[in-house]
């Protein structure tokens, strides 16, 4: 039985001012991010590509009126600024801009999916390993070590042989190698958060392991995951491009920035724009992801400034 509390406070109340601005941790970090101009610009660039990727069919219908598969053998290698082909056409007369738009869908789609999958698996492993320690931690981390030590390229080759790569399977293949880093990062952060007094306090009040992990640890390691996610996005785009180059990735006719770059390699000298457009989009995306990731890290940890 819980006794009712006495009505009046037994001592005079504390009249200290509550802080000037009532902002949560996230809003303060958001504020710091907003003041970081490089962060804003790079975030804007990323957002632009995301929007383009999502709206690719719509944009294609509005701007270019073609499909990424429509072959036009009369108009192959059209130069940029040709009427009806703003960015030119490729070796089969397909409109470059349309292919770039749909390529965005593929490359960004793979990027985000791989990030989400890697974060989910990695965070779970890191949380469990860091929280329990001991044998569980040892086993999980040795497994992670194995993953990280294996040259990714072999795993990619193996998995590309076993599973035919489409957007989804390729994301999973890439994520299956990348989750190791985030698992290590999360585990490290968990080790430092786990000994803090509020964790001990929650245990003292009878919190279960699940509550400790998901209601206390997870919110306190989220910032690490967000920073990793931003940086990893750039890495995934590059990995995807590299896999396309090796023939292990998305196969034509489905365009991805990577395979567009690969296919146009042989035409570099007379139709260099075919290499430049996908090269530029990849470069901008990866650069924006890296700059944004750094800005997010600075936003969460002002001591680094």
């Amino acid at each position: 039985m819980i006794s009712p509390l006495p009505i009046e406070a037994p001592v005079p109340p504390s009249t200290a001012i509550v802080a000037r601005t009532s902002r949560g941790y996230w809003r303060e970090a958001g504020g710091r991010l907003r003041r970081n101009r490089i962060g804003i610009v790079s975030g804007g660039v990323l957002l632009f590509f995301v929007v383009v990727a999502l709206a690719a069919p719509l944009l294609a219908a509005l701007i270019t009126h073609t499909d990424y598969r429509s072959i036009d053998l009369i108009n192959t290698f059209a130069r940029p600024l040709t009427p009806s082909h703003i960015l030119g056409t490729d070796e089969l007369g397909r409109d470059e801009l349309t292919r770039l738009l749909f390529g965005a869908q593929v490359s960004m789609g793979i990027g985000f999916l791989a990030v989400v999958v890697a974060l989910t698996i990695g965070a779970c492993v890191g949380l469990v390993a860091g929280f329990y320690g001991g044998l569980i931690d040892g086993l999980l981390m040795r497994f992670v070590d194995m993953i990280l030590a294996t040259p990714a390229i072999f795993l990619f080759i193996l998995m590309s042989i076993l599973f035919k790569p489409n957007t989804i399977t390729l994301s999973l293949i890439i994520a299956s190698v990348g989750w190791g880093s985030i698992a290590r990062l999360v585990r490290g952060e968990v080790l430092s958060v786990r000994t803090r007094d509020f964790m001990v306090a929650a245990r003292a009040f009878g919190a279960s392991d699940a509550r400790l992990i998901f209601r206390h640890l997870l919110p306190n390691v989220l910032h690490v995951m967000i920073v990793f996610g931003s940086l990893y996005l750039g890495q995934v785009v590059l990995i995807e491009a590299a896999l396309d180059f090796l023939g292990l990735g998305i196969s034509p006719p489905t365009p991805s920035w990577g395979n567009m770059l690969t296919n146009s390699e042989t035409y570099f000298f007379h139709s260099s724009w075919l290499v430049i457009w996908p090269g530029v989009t990849i470069f901008l995306t990866v650069l924006a992801a890296n700059l944004f990731g750094n800005a997010v890290r600075d936003a969460f940890d002002p001591r680094l400034r």
């Binding site: 006794s3 504390s14 009040f205």
Partner: protein, 340 residues
């Protein structure tokens, strides 16, 4: 082996005159590992054979310097750590190895207030979440009743109930400590371990929190184990005081008595070392400066642990461990050659 005859009320029903919390022969040690293979090479004897009784409604002060084991004792008492040896009793019931449901029920009766108001509140949770968490864990109160209860708790410790959606970093140190106190009171406990609750606070705020703790004790019939290193504060708030050194209790006595007439040389040196804010007294005081540092709890001295720094130590002190003996009404000390 704990002395069964001395353990209270294990063989008859507990009554209100028996101690609320009791320990006999409590030992807690931590392994020290080293080397590539992380093998255990030694143990830190943080708590090395402690007998204590805490009566219902009283405040037992627990003092000692770093490494004496007072914090470990507090955490072992409320089962945050598992004792290696000994018996812990609560209301006459042996709780040393409780687990599962009976441990959960225990956590409603024994709670804790922590030292660092900046680290003991989850920075990602609102004040309402923090104070309400014990209620959620024990599934007491839902919905509107829960909100009301949280509001009442905040008012009780002198905070504004309207701040329930704010985050800890928006409050001052003293206010955060009040939040921690409200959290400890949420489930209507009987016994609270206060682990250095004011050491991290400014001097002018410490008095506010001490007054709050005393007022709450009177209103809610609480029993406190008050762990601290500030002897002046402990004297003020405690009914009885226990002095620890290197894992053992050196002396236990009522507060006024301990400070007026300490019997153990360590207590005497400790009291002589505390600065008093009065220049007239400070400049004329007799200074008893202890030599050397606190010995290591990994390899404590044989016999009486304090003998390496004790100005009164003799041969016998190295040979045998002095037992905690009664030297007067309710005054015990562990020394072969106590002070007069």
């Amino acid at each position: 082996m704990p002395d069964i005859a001395a353990a209270p009320a294990l063989h008859r029903a507990w009554t209100a005159t028996d101690p609320l919390v009791s320990v006999r022969g409590l030992k807690k040690w931590f392994p020290v590992s080293s080397g590539v293979l992380q093998r255990t090479i030694a143990h830190v004897h943080a708590v090395d054979g402690v007998d204590l009784d805490i009566k219902k409604g009283e405040t037992l002060g627990l003092v000692g310097e770093s490494g004496c084991g007072k914090s470990t004792l507090g955490r072992t008492l409320i089962r945050l750590l598992d004792a290696n040896e000994g018996v812990i009793s609560y209301r006459g019931e042996d709780i040393t190895r409780s687990h599962g449901e009976s441990l959960r029920r225990l956590r409603r009766k024994m709670t804790m207030i922590f030292q660092d108001p900046y680290a003991s509140l989850d920075p990602r949770h609102t004040v309402g979440d923090i104070v309400g968490e014990p209620l959620d864990i024990h599934r007491l109160f839902q919905g509107r009743e829960r909100t009301e209860r949280i509001g009442e708790l905040l008012n009780l410790v002198g905070l504004n109930a309207r701040h329930v959606d704010r985050y800890p970093h928006e409050f001052s140190g003293g206010q955060r400590q009040r939040i921690g106190i409200a959290r400890a009171l949420a489930v209507d406990p009987e016994f609270i371990v206060c682990d250095e609750p004011i050491s991290s606070l400014d001097v002018s705020i410490q008095a506010q929190i001490i007054n709050l703790l005393e007022a709450l004790q009177a209103r809610l019939d609480l029993t406190y184990l008050f762990i601290a290193h500030d002897l002046s504060v402990v004297k003020h708030i405690s009914n009885r005081v226990a002095v620890m050194y290197l894992g053992k209790v050196m002396e236990v006595a009522p507060a006024n008595e301990l400070y007026r007439r300490p019997r153990h040389p360590y207590t005497g040196s400790l009291l002589a070392a505390v600065p008093i804010p009065d220049p007239a007294i400070e400049l004329t005081r007799e200074r008893v400066i202890l030599q050397g540092d606190v010995a290591s709890p990994v390899d404590p001295p044989s016999g009486c642990r304090f003998r390496t720094r004790c100005p009164r130590a003799r041969e016998h002190c190295a040979e045998a461990v002095p037992p905690l003996e009664a030297l007067g009404a309710d005054h015990k000390a562990a020394c072969f050659y106590p002070l007069d």
